[in-house]
């Protein structure tokens, strides 16, 4: 445990407001929590008596379970609400939902929502610590952090690396968090995908938009692949998955362009055979499952660190 560093954030809304020192501190804290998950009795009393609510308005396997596992291993009491079975189906607004939950005095609310800025909005209306588990196409900070932890573990550092991100950048909050995070820590992010899936002004966020796959992947230390999302109704972004796979799919040949010790990463879930070929996903360069393991540790760290900034009552 790194002591002596004052972590100033009450909420975790995005990578954008975290400093380099904040990120180092989170990752180191996560490292120290990691071994708890390999003990026979995977439990420490650190967050005993804490109430943590998972408020998920979008489906999730990894993130939700990861936060729950993290909380329970630290002895907190966790509860999960998913939108489809909540009063949101009766038309209750997000603010009302959050306020009602807050009236039961949770310490932390973890929220995933399809609207960018929803977690920001909640900080104005409720007292609990808010952790963003993914908001619209804005950010997914815990994912960005676990990606950085994974890279740091394998490469020993986070600066001076070439990180290639391939796929649907436009709709990927993970990509945004990764771009912000890796750039902040001193690495260069090279982005490649169909032009329809590259957002306007991405270079202002710090990414290098590449014209060819080779340009993006050549000598990369990390090849991060993003999931291709289904077509949006009013937006003809791609003609077919088949064409995407042929032109942009990450295959053995693509990975061969990167450094020999490059890591293959993916936030999951994977569309096998479309953006990532199965043999690559399962190869020994793939650290996809390490990402998931690190996710629990990072989330334990986040839950622990925001608790340190709870207002003192009295």
């Amino acid at each position: 445990m790194t002591t002596g560093y004052f972590f100033p954030h009450r909420h975790i809304l995005g990578i954008d407001h975290l400093s380099v020192d904040d990120i180092h501190h989170i990752l180191s804290t996560a490292e120290s929590f990691k071994e708890i998950s390999s003990r026979p009795i995977k439990k420490v009393p650190t967050l005993r008596g804490n109430t943590i609510i998972n408020l998920f308005f979008e489906p999730s396997t990894r993130t939700r379970l990861s936060f729950e596992v993290a909380a329970k291993r630290m002895s907190a009491d966790t509860f999960s609400i998913s939108a489809s079975t909540s009063s949101a189906t009766k038309g209750e607004t997000l603010i009302d939902t959050a306020r009602n939950i807050a009236a039961m005095n949770p310490d932390t609310i973890i929220i995933r929502h399809s609207f960018s800025g929803a977690p920001h909005m909640l900080t104005r209306y409720v007292d609990a610590a808010i952790i963003n588990a993914g908001d619209g196409t804005h950010e997914h900070p815990s994912q960005g952090l676990l990606d950085m932890l994974t890279v740091r573990q394998h490469k020993g550092r986070l600066d001076g690396l070439k990180v290639a991100v391939i796929g649907d950048i436009l709709h990927s909050r993970v990509a945004h968090s990764d771009i912000l995070g890796f750039t902040k820590m001193g690495s260069e992010v090279f982005v490649y995908g169909p032009s329809t899936l590259i957002p306007h002004g991405l270079d202002r966020l710090g990414a290098r938009v590449c014209r060819t796959l080779t340009q993006a992947v050549e000598d990369a230390d990390v090849v991060m692949t993003l999931r291709i999302q289904k077509e949006r109704q009013h937006d003809p972004l791609l003609p077919s998955f088949r064409e995407y796979a042929r032109r942009f799919g990450v295959t053995r040949e693509v990975v061969a362009l990167a450094r020999p010790d490059a890591l293959v990463m993916h936030p999951g879930p994977i569309n096998r055979g479309i953006e990532l070929m199965p043999d690559v996903a399962d190869s020994d360069r793939s650290v996809i499952l390490d990402q998931v393991t690190n996710g629990v540790a990072v989330r334990m760290a986040l839950l622990y660190l925001v608790m340190g900034n709870a207002p003192v009552s009295g």
Binding site: D16, T93, L94, I95, H113, F115, S116, G117, A118, H120, M121, D135, G136, T137, H138, E139, R173, H176, P199, H200, G201, L202, R204, L205, H234, D235
Partner: protein, 424 residues
């Protein structure tokens, strides 16, 4: 309640009479009379020293929400906000519930307007229900008192319908006001650019507006009829209008105070009071708007005053309604342009009174003897803090809340009746 006023020693700025000089203005029985000649012994004297005396300001683009959404604003409350902002007349858009596409709604609006603090000029719909399928009855609407037609809130998707609207409206002396937006490009909640990418919000590109602006210009040019472009927000639209005017196309255009004052950076923090359609644009666009105000490309400043309650605004950004109020902040923000040398005082009066009156064919925008006594007295120096408790409108959805503003209307006279008085 006096019917005679003698406004003394103000700087009278009256472009239609090429007048800009210190002088006196006299009002008798609702009309302007000759200050020197008329016998107005019992007149109330108003000391306008240090103030400008201008023809009553006209906002040619407001939403008063009545009939149908009176909880946001109604004709009376909206007119009070207008009077507080120095306006003697406002043109109200037809996207009410029901839509103002018929004589009955127009008549209702005018009936309610009789008790209002400003003159209300109804803009009726271009198409029945504003559904973009068939023309509304322009003749009937004109007779009922409409001054213009627009499907504002929505674009007219069908180009043939817009062409017919330009042709048919001209027969009845109705201005046609275009909400220029290509709908298939408009899926988003803010301007498309580095801010929307950073905030993870879907963006609306500038071309969504300029493509339709060009269509309207092309139709106006082809038919030889006039069109007025509402709420222009982009550099490209400004340039299209500028070059069309040079070619002699009968196009006029308005922009709003928020497009010349703010940029998409104002959305930072997911501020729903910075969400409107068309959205706030980049700094380059804002500079182009300023240039267009300075060089005559724009004919009018209009607010697109769009009241919404907390039900519509205190929600997630994507779910929030589009629109901000503007009647009370328009004049101070426009006066800043004069202070900064973008426009001079005469041009300000043209943008906020003379030209709106001319585009809508109103008996207004002038201080000629015999004209209705619609007068706005402006103190360009006075400072005030625009806080939420001071907002006159029913709705408080303004990005200028808490701003320290300079310059405002200190007296508004409509038909010789005082509707707003800070002088005392």
């Amino acid at each position: 309640m006096s019917s005679c006023y003698l406004i003394k020693n103000g700087r009278i700025i009256d472009p239609k009479n090429s007048r800009d000089a210190i002088g006196d203005l006299a009002v008798k029985n609702g009309r302007l009379v000759n200050a020197g000649e008329e016998n107005i012994d019992d007149a109330v004297e108003v000391d306008a020293t240090g103030c400008w005396v201008v023809p009553g300001l006209i906002d040619m683009h407001v939403h008063l929400r009545e009939p149908g959404e009176e909880y946001k604003e109604d004709i009376i409350s909206g007119s009070r906000a207008a009077a507080a902002g120095g306006f003697t007349g406002v043109a109200c858009m037809p996207n009410t519930r029901p839509v103002n596409d018929n004589r009955a709604v127009t008549s209702l609006i005018l009936e309610l307007a009789a008790k209002a603090s400003t003159r209300i000029y109804p803009v009726a719909a271009i198409s029945k229900g504003s559904n973009g399928e068939s023309l509304a009855e322009f003749g009937d609407l004109r007779e009922a008192g409409a001054v213009a037609v627009s499907d504002d809130g929505l674009p007219v998707r069908d180009s043939q319908l817009m062409r017919r609207a330009l042709e048919y409206a001209a027969d009845f002396g109705l201005a046609v006001i275009s909400h220029s937006e290509e709908p298939s490009l408009s899926h988003g909640s803010m301007n498309e650019g580095e801010v929307s990418t950073r905030l993870g919000l879907q963006g609306i590109p500038t071309v969504a507006e300029s493509i339709m602006v060009y269509r309207e210009i092309a139709l106006a040019e082809y038919t030889g009829k006039a069109v007025h472009i509402a709420h222009v927000s982009t550099a490209m639209s400004t340039e299209l209008i500028r070059s069309a005017k040079k070619r002699g196309v009968l196009v006029t255009a308005e922009t709003t105070p928020h497009y010349f004052t703010l940029t998409h950076e104002a959305v930072e923090g997911y501020a729903t009071n910075a969400k409107m359609n068309p959205p706030l644009r980049s700094e380059e666009d804002r500079q182009a708007i300023l240039q267009g105000l300075a060089d005559g490309t724009f004919d009018a400043i209009a607010t697109d005053h769009a009241p919404h309650s907390i039900l519509e605004k205190e929600v997630e950004f994507d779910a929030a309604a589009n629109g901000i109020i503007g009647l009370e902040t328009s004049l101070p923000l426009s006066l800043a342009l004069v202070r900064e040398g973008v426009i001079d005082e005469r041009r300000l009066v043209e943008l906020m009174s003379v030209n709106p009156a001319s585009i809508l064919g109103l008996e207004a925008g002038t201080l000629s003897v015999g004209a209705p006594a619609d007068v706005t007295i402006i103190n360009p120096q006075i400072a005030f803090h625009y806080t939420e408790d001071k907002v006159v409108s029913k709705s408080k959805n303004s990005p200028f809340l808490d701003w320290k503003l300079q310059g405002r209307a200190v007296l508004t006279l409509m038909g010789g009746r005082v509707t707003n008085n800070l002088l005392n």
